[in-house]
Assembly symmetry: C2
Homo-oligomer: 100 residues x 2
């Protein structure tokens, strides 16, 4: 299992457009081989950084890479969020029980 995490910086006025794009992209990605699941988190404070965190699990880095094809790129073109593309991660430490 490979976690893909994206810490999005979305200005509040772009929320609607962000969610519209996120839904379209997620519906596209969940049909791809190796997609396991995702959770979208929205910040509860009025902070302006990392307002959304997308946590996705893929079966392998290869399948994650293959899923980022021309169809994906067309969906995220001119997206209303700044920089900070998502990254693949590995879990390096854990404690207690995480419930998801």
């Amino acid at each position: 299992m490979v976690p893909f995490i994206n810490c999005f910086e979305v200005p509040p006025e772009a929320d609607e457009e962000f969610l519209r794009r996120w839904r379209a992209t997620s519906l596209y990605m969940r049909e791809k081989p190796g997609f396991l699941g995702l959770r979208l988190h929205k910040v509860t404070s009025d902070s302006s950084v990392n307002r959304y965190v997308n946590y996705v699990q893929w079966r392998s880095a290869q399948e994650w890479q293959a899923a980022h094809d021309d169809g994906f790129r067309a969906l995220v073109q001119d997206a209303p969020w700044t920089g900070r593309v998502g990254q693949l991660y590995e879990v390096v430490a854990s404690a207690g029980v995480i419930e998801l």
Copy 2:
């Protein structure tokens, strides 16, 4: 359940110091009422942004807030990572099965 997520920007040369601090802080926090569990993720590419993502679950926002006391602040003082304090989040969408 309240997710607390911190997207850390740690320069590679500060990895050792970051992990030392993260361990000390996590050992301190896991003794606090309301702490449920955590996972630390490290980026697998050579990207320099958000190299670590800390995903913590608390029972309530009140307990999370109470845990950030003087003892916690002493542990993170002069920490070797930049800006971007962690935030509380809510899960606003999910799909598939997330295994943690």
